[in-house]
């Protein structure tokens, strides 16, 4: 009996060992991608006939015509474009499955007790089919942000890695999200001004909370201890405050808030950000925008225009992309939607390399992970995509994707359905369910 248990334990230990060895070996695989055109994002021009060497999950070396190491698996990328794996500036990946089915949606909380303290990290579902599709479309990292139910704060977003592991949260509490504007005015009493009063008050109260040593808050304090604590890293500039703001006046208010409280502010949306481009550049306030937006969808977006990204970049504003497509791209087509958005921005004046930057180093820098992700440079995580063609062309597709040196499976539910129902099967005798 005891012997059997020992054997079991040994077997268990072995299988764990093998499992971890396997995952390690996948990550530890040495790979050389040769012959392609690599946009490394360390300069403006691509490296032609590039050799990219991946070792231990990281980029070991990159250069034109380097000889692949003897122990490397060699991937011929001749005629292909290679970019870093893409990072979406804002999605809700891992937080929802079917939008209309509320019990499959974890994007937001409408509890009064959870404002700034609402934290999406505990809800992230690595097995979401949305993640499989985003990965197959070239995404390797994403900011997953909380929704808009509460006001003015929606809570804390997390950076996720779209790899095949069970724990895909790369950094929890990576951004504090708040809402401004006419669309959310009803939640703050009917005027957007109320939202700014509440935001300022929250930062004031959070600051006082830090100073107080003993328990208990003033009787009329609006923030509970959860929210007050959640805002501490924002006050320390350790976590940026990402404020959805479309109208010029709200964008300027957001910049002023950042200055008044000495906190780091990011503009989300920013349909009219081009009107405040100089201020945004001078205050180094980045904008995570949606280049699809060119209609006055509401009174906050009267100035929406297709060259918003181009005008912001030209003025020196740092940009990344969160392509909403009115909610149908931001999560459901997080990879393809963002690439299409970058293409629109480039078609309307953004330099090509800046379109790629917005999807790689741009979002990496804004969200604070550029030290290890975003470019193809020695020492960086080996997040790489080999493309069938120009990644900004919606017709192009992903040939191969690596995340931290591990080649990703690109299978999706959609891909399996397409195989199952391919035209050549239309007259099969057996129902599709047998395929």
């Amino acid at each position: 009996m005891r012997k059997a248990m020992k054997l079991c334990a040994l077997a268990l230990a072995l299988s764990f060992g093998i499992a971890s060895l396997l995952s390690l070996s996948a990550r530890a695989e040495t790979v050389a991608i040769v012959g392609g055109t690599a946009y490394t994002m360390t300069g403006d021009d691509p490296v032609e006939n590039a050799t990219i060497i991946i070792r231990d999950g990281r980029i070991d070396a990159v250069g034109a015509g380097l000889a692949p190491p003897a122990d490397a698996r060699v991937i011929d990328a001749k005629g292909r474009i290679i970019t870093p794996g893409l990072m979406a500036g804002g999605t809700q990946l891992g937080l929802l499955e079917v939008g209309a089915a509320e019990n499959s949606v974890d994007t937001s909380s409408n509890m009064d007790t959870l404002g700034a303290a609402f934290d999406v990290q505990y809800a992230i579902n690595p097995n979401s089919t949305l993640i499989d599709l985003a990965r197959a479309d070239g995404l390797t990292r994403a900011m997953s942000f909380p929704g808009s139910a509460a006001a003015p704060f929606s809570g804390l977003g997390a950076i996720i890695r779209l790899d095949s592991g069970a724990d895909i949260v790369e950094r929890a509490k990576a951004g504090m999200f708040a809402r401004s504007g006419g669309g959310h005015a009803s939640a703050v009493g009917g005027s957007r001004s109320g939202g700014w009063v509440l935001l300022r008050n929250a930062l004031d109260e959070a600051r006082r909370y830090k100073k107080r040593s003993g328990p208990g808050a003033p009787r009329d304090q609006l923030l509970n201890h959860l929210d007050a604590e959640a805002l501490q890293p924002v006050l320390k500039r350790a976590v940026p405050l990402a404020i959805w703001a479309e109208r010029e006046s709200d964008i300027r208010q957001a910049v002023r808030l950042g200055r008044d409280y000495d906190i780091s502010v990011i503009i989300m949306g920013g349909a009219e950000a081009w009107r405040a481009a100089d201020l945004l550049a001078a205050s180094d306030t980045p904008v995570i925008l949606d280049p699809f937006v060119n209609l006055p969808s509401d009174f906050d977006q009267i100035g929406a225009r297709l060259d918003n990204a181009a005008l912001l970049q030209k003025a020196g504003v740092r940009i990344a992309l969160a392509a909403s497509g009115w909610g149908l791209k931001i999560s459901y087509n997080a990879g393809l939607g963002m690439r299409e958005a970058a293409g629109i921005a480039v078609a309307n004046g953004l330099p090509y390399i800046e379109g790629l930057r917005a999807m790689t180093t741009g979002s990496a820098q804004i969200w604070g992970i550029a030290d290890h992700y975003g470019s193809i440079a020695a020492g960086k995580d080996a997040d790489l995509v080999i493309w069938s063609g120009d990644p900004l062309e919606p017709m192009s597709t992903v040939i191969t994707s690596f995340i931290r040196g591990e080649e990703m499976a690109l299978e999706t539910r959609q891909g399996l359905l397409a195989k199952r129902y391919a035209p050549q099967h239309a007259n099969d005798a057996w129902p599709a369910a047998y395929k």
Partner: protein
């Protein structure tokens, strides 16, 4: 004289006379007669020769280095090195591409009108939701002509749109087909002589809306019941009118606007456009059409069309689809990007549609995404084939295939001169021609319509 005429006739003849004077009611198309005729006039135009373009004719052919001659708003010739008649404008288009004007069979422009406000939350002009049978509403009665979405669509190469009512009611009401030119009143953009459509909806939308209110229908079965009841009643209504007109019955039936619409569908005079996603739902509606004797022109959204391609082809039903919308509700879970390509490959009629003023500005890119996804599963679609999804196929679904959707002699000169391959994200519609008039020109601000709504606000377009 009128008095004596009336005195000599019974009420029945009075009705017929009034109907004839109104150009309505007394003919075979009794139930589809249009009391609100088009007042459309083409924009000022000039005969034009477009030279040296890559031409996708919309019917499946490609001509490199081709010319197109436009006279009096019609295409008169397509070919190589056409001679320029005296006095025609010549547009050099070498390196550029020309396609028929894009046709969007599923637009809500003018009713899902920009900017949206809180008023739209409670009382939107997209649908009349008070009655699951709103077959009697005409969407043209709700069009806001100052919706900026119209000019954005034009600037993207869209020359014809079908504006449909929404999908909340089971019977959504009558559509209107319009030209994408600016005007102040809807009759001025109504496509002359275009058949109307009826929008009906299956699946989640009607049952969710009415179910939440405790109203009928609360289920898919209830929706089908509503449809069967509706069409059966319309059959009875049509036969009562037939009896009356043949003299078999002496008293005129009372006009019923719901029944008129459904009777016109049964007659084939109004085209049926069905909002439906799932394969099983579509098959149910097809079975219903066999039972009750109506024809389905197109399924819209049809995310699972790829599962029933032979059935759709057999019944000659088009599908109007997106490239990549999926997952936002249960019935969209099985959407796949190559859907349109699978339908096309199986001999069916595929159409890219918008349902959104954002997608409605890039139906060409919708097709590009399908081409890319189809290539991944081994189906290669050349541009001259894909362009049919935006041109001749939607023209067919609107019953306008002999007037628009192809670049052939005799067709309306609705066309787009693209800066490059229309399936590239980098290409723009340089010029958009509607009935021979340059309605949009990317290089000429005087040919870029701006809606009244946008006037007097800080500029959103042009250099700032």
């Amino acid at each position: 004289m009128a008095g004596s005429f009336i005195s000599l006739t019974a009420g029945r003849l009075l009705f017929a006379a009034v109907a004839m004077l109104c150009g309505a009611q007394a003919t075979a198309s009794t139930f589809s007669a249009d009391p609100y005729p088009s007042t459309y006039r083409p924009l000022p135009r000039h005969d034009t020769l477009i030279k040296g373009a890559t031409i996708l004719d919309g019917a499946g052919a490609r001509l490199d280095g081709g010319d197109i001659l436009v006279r009096d708003g019609r295409i008169v010739a397509v070919g190589k090195t056409l001679p320029a008649p005296d006095g025609v404008d010549v547009i050099e288009a070498s390196g550029r591409w020309v396609t028929p004007g894009i046709i969007d069979v599923h637009s809500h422009n003018g009713t899902f009108s920009m900017p949206l406000t809180t008023i739209d939350n409670e009382a939107s002009d997209v649908s009349e939701t008070s009655d699951p049978n709103s077959a009697d509403i005409w969407v043209e009665h709700g069009i806001n002509m100052q919706d900026p979405s119209f000019s954005r669509a034009l600037a993207s190469g869209v020359t014809t749109q079908q504006i449909l009512p929404g999908s909340v009611p089971v019977f959504g009401g009558r559509s209107v087909v319009v030209k994408t030119i600016p005007a102040n009143i809807v009759s001025a953009i109504k496509f002359p002589g275009a058949p109307q459509g009826l929008k009906i909806a299956c699946g989640e939308n009607p049952k969710s809306h009415y179910g939440e209110k405790g109203m009928f229908p609360t289920s898919r079965m209830g929706e089908i019941l509503a449809m069967r009841r509706g069409f059966l009643a319309a059959r009875k209504y049509a036969s009562a009118w037939k009896d009356y007109r043949s003299g078999k019955s002496k008293t005129a039936p009372e006009r019923d606007l719901k029944q008129e619409t459904l009777a016109a569908v049964l007659d084939g005079d109004i085209k049926l456009h069905v909002h439906c996603y799932r394969a099983d739902d579509m098959a149910t509606i097809i079975a219903l059409s066999d039972e009750l004797g109506f024809r389905i022109t197109a399924f819209h959204h049809a995310t699972e069309a790829y599962k029933i391609v032979p059935l759709l082809r057999e019944k000659d039903i088009c599908v109007a689809v997106w490239s990549d919308w999926w997952g936002f509700k249960m019935e969209t879970l099985d959407a796949i990007r190559p859907n349109a390509a699978f339908v096309d490959a199986g001999g069916g009629c595929a159409i890219m549609h918008s349902d959104s003023p954002q997608v409605g500005q890039r139906l060409n890119i919708e097709a590009a995404k399908v081409i890319g996804a189809a290539h991944q599963v081994g189906i290669d679609i050349p541009p001259e084939r894909a362009i049919r999804w935006l041109t001749s196929n939607p023209a067919r679904a609107l019953g306008l295939e002999d007037r628009i959707g192809t670049l052939r002699p005799g067709r309306n000169a609705d066309l787009v001169i693209w800066s490059g391959d229309p399936f590239s994200i980098y290409s723009h519609a340089d010029q958009v021609m509607v009935d021979g008039a340059i309605a949009f020109d990317r290089s000429d601000p005087k040919r870029q319509p701006v809606s009244d709504f946008e006037l007097g606000r800080k500029p959103a377009t042009g250099e700032h």
